[in-house]
Symmetry: C2
Subunit: 478 residues, 2 copies
């Protein structure tokens, strides 16, 4: 039990918390198993209470009660995190605080190009609210229908448009948060420049609920563009993909919003698991890129010009440009259903690392080699955000072998593969967690791979801001 | 004396520091008065030694010696800061650490679109290095010929292209820094995604040397654009300026890189102080905007179209579009010489506040009123970065009255004006330091205007990372 510092919460304190929340504001753990589910089915959370506050004031009051009585708090957002940041897996002494009832749009300003939303607002609802005003919110990922803004910010979520618009932190102008002592930090004002001391917004974003609970945020909106062009490109290697990206940049500048890499093996896999989907090439390539740009009218012509230049330089073996929204959707469906296809095929390892762009080709070669050295017959489906240097390696059992059989015949292979990928990542000056965070899954890895200077600084900050260690105990830093 | 915790440094420790640096690596204070000069002539720095380290290892060794012997360190970059962040004004017990000898470009990568430079590299030299590779580094400000990257990052500098490219922090992918205990944090790898704990880069950027010394940085480069269009626009009010900006965005999208506001009074002032410069309008307008966009070829046509739409909506009273680079330079010279003209005219107050864009018009009205309430005859030259909500009010003596005479006849007016502007800024949910930072000039103001939650958190972080308070003592937080 890692949260040994917390004993079972005093029933009187739990009653006080329930009184703050009112009858509709909490659930008993036995009535709320969905808060304990891991999207990848590896963990099971626990808690002594599910708190469902309806306001920032209620969150603050609960945190004060927990601080005074040393009760751990696990903040819960959309529940889509894949590193168990939202799951207390070692003890049922903590309470879960889910902000699902705090899901309102507080304010919309066209002049400021911002929307102010509560943390429980579902990402897709932010997209819709922006579209209603002819604007758009660029943060986008497969889980958009269930993930919430609070979790997006707490984990500094990435997704498929980071290349152009940045990570979640880059799309947030202000936050409101309840700090570990129950005080409210209200910094929602949409300021583009504010140099009044350390940037607390950037400190809380990405802190995975270990320094406070983000309760609301001011999000940057972007103009909608009149034209979008989407191309699916067959290439021979990630190195060629990078060269295509560089050439495309010369023609399309920063209108490029996505450069997603897929492996031929992955295309075949998605098509086999989703019979409605078909790769657009006559012959399955070794690798493929999904590239999208949006901007002023006439983008289609510039895309054709750019592709012509890529063919002239022998960077592409085939290319398809979507001629309609439905063709665009079909191309994206190949990419977006990749995680599901991996799961269906028994993936037992899903990495989330990033390296400098200049290292990607060597990184992919080296990781594939390292994994095959562990077991020569596994299948590896590598895909991800080439433009961000963020590749996900999914490792599957050999063809025809079930996950259960393979894992029982190869004990320890999950850890061996994970560590091999981490070692290669470190060799190439990369990050062992590009976009998913540390949660409870990677706390050991963080301690192993972070520099002593980084890890010591993280611990000092945690101890200074959360001296009782009540905020998401066991996550990020133990 | 604010740094009372530090007594005079032990000569033996100073000798040890000198030995680390070698004979060319230090100066005695009496031989180095330039390190004590304030660009606005209000303060005078002091120190017991000027250290000029030649490497990160030397910086680390000096910091370790200072930490062990409780000697304060004032990091010094280009010396262009206007809030005395680089000047120990209360005591000569600290040592100045200037990184001017660490001015090399360590690495340039076209594939990664980055340049890795040491902290003492002058901003303009980074511009040149980028141009040599057909790229550009967007951070830009009037002091570019003398300010250095280390100071740019330590203060999270702003400047004239924040609108499109962000502040200094948004243009930095990685840093190397020496922490207050002398350990080196090496996080220079150009990663676009890295969620391995709290964002230490964003914490150190903008910390004004109070949490460590940034010794090197990995900076993001952008493509050069083939076309630039620059317009000087006569408008009736800041509100009209905001409406122009919104209309322009509909036509030019995020190709707009600068929207600078000037007052008619300011145009006349610049022309009177710089006889070579002339506002391009037949009649001096109440207000004017300098707007610039860059992007794909054909931008000039889109600019004309956008201006037509602005005239149709009655947002503009006059407009001039630069037809050549020399015309562009002349328009920018009006804006860039504004600070110098203010100084020459005896400006006794230079504010640096930001508010939400939607509040700018009321903010300007309210601040002008508040200043005239203090003294009805002063002249107010308001200018700045309209697109960022960052207006600088410069307050000048009445026409024909010298600064010295005016200030002796109106004791206390400097503080009265500063506080009046701060109060109006706070009323409009703004920041009392938009881009210049806190330094030693605004420590009282920070304590007054920051929320208790913010100020308490700043103090906790400072105490956790710099428990002996040796890093830039007296700056930011006392």
């Amino acid at each position: 039990m890692r949260n040994a510092q917390f004993s079972e919460p005093d029933p009187k304190t739990l009653d006080a918390i329930k009184r703050v929340l009112g009858p509709a504001g909490w659930k008993a753990p036995q009535d709320a198993s969905r808060y304990f589910e891991d999207p990848r089915g590896r963990f099971r959370g626990q808690a002594s209470l599910i708190a469902l506050p309806a306001s920032t004031a209620q969150v603050a009051e609960i945190v004060r009660l927990c601080a005074a009585n040393s009760i751990g708090i696990v903040p819960y957002s959309g529940g889509t995190g894949v590193v168990a940041g939202q799951l207390a897996i070692d003890s049922d002494n903590a309470i879960v605080v889910s902000l699902e009832r705090m899901n309102k749009v507080r304010h919309f300003s066209v002049d400021d190009s911002v929307i102010v939303v509560e943390a429980g607002c579902i990402l897709e609802n932010v997209h819709t609210a922006a579209q209603d005003h002819d604007m758009m919110f660029p943060l986008n990922m497969a889980s958009k229908g269930s993930c919430c803004i609070g979790g997006n910010l707490a984990t500094n979520a990435g997704g498929i448009q980071v290349l152009r618009y940045g990570n979640a932190r880059d799309l947030c102008l202000g936050i409101e948060a309840v700090l570990p002592d129950g005080t409210v930090l209200d910094e929602l004002s949409p300021l583009h420049k504010n140099n009044t001391g350390y940037d607390l917004r950037h400190l809380l974003i990405g802190s995975e609920g270990t320094l406070g609970i983000i309760t609301a945020a001011t999000l940057k909106l972007k103009p909608q563009y009149p034209d979008t062009s989407t191309a699916f490109l067959a290439i021979q290697s990630p190195a060629k993909g990078l060269a295509v990206f560089q050439e495309m940049k010369r023609h399309l500048g920063d209108t490029i919003s996505a450069v997603e890499l897929m492996r031929g093996l992955g295309l075949t896999l998605v098509a086999s698991k989703f019979p409605g989907l078909r790769p657009p090439f006559a012959q399955t390539p070794d690798w493929a890129i999904l590239l999208e740009a949006s901007g002023a009218l006439g983008l289609g012509d510039r895309m054709q010009e750019a592709l012509g230049a890529c063919f002239d330089k022998d960077l592409l073996t085939d290319a398809v440009v979507a001629q309609s929204q439905s063709q665009r959707d079909s191309l994206w469906a190949l990419r977006e259903n990749t995680p599901a296809a991996n799961r269906m095929a028994g993936a037992f390892c899903n990495s989330d690392t990033s390296v400098p762009l200049s290292r990607i080709d060597d990184f992919v070669k080296d990781t594939l080699q390292a994994i095959f050295d562990i077991h020569p017959d596994v299948q590896i489906n590598s895909y991800g955000h080439l433009g961000d240097g963020n590749i996900h390696h999914n490792v599957l059992p050999p063809n025809g072998v079930s996950k259960a059989d393979f894992l029982s015949a190869n004990p320890g292979i999950i850890d061996a593969v994970r560590l091999a990928i981490n070692d290669v990542t470190q060799k190439h000056n990369g990050s062992i967690s590009a976009e998913h965070g540390i949660g409870r899954l990677k706390t050991d890895d963080l301690e192993t791979y972070a520099s002593a200077a980084r890890y010591d600084t993280l611990k000092r900050i945690k101890a200074a801001l959360d001296p009782k260690s009540i905020m998401n105990p066991g996550a990020l830093i133990r």
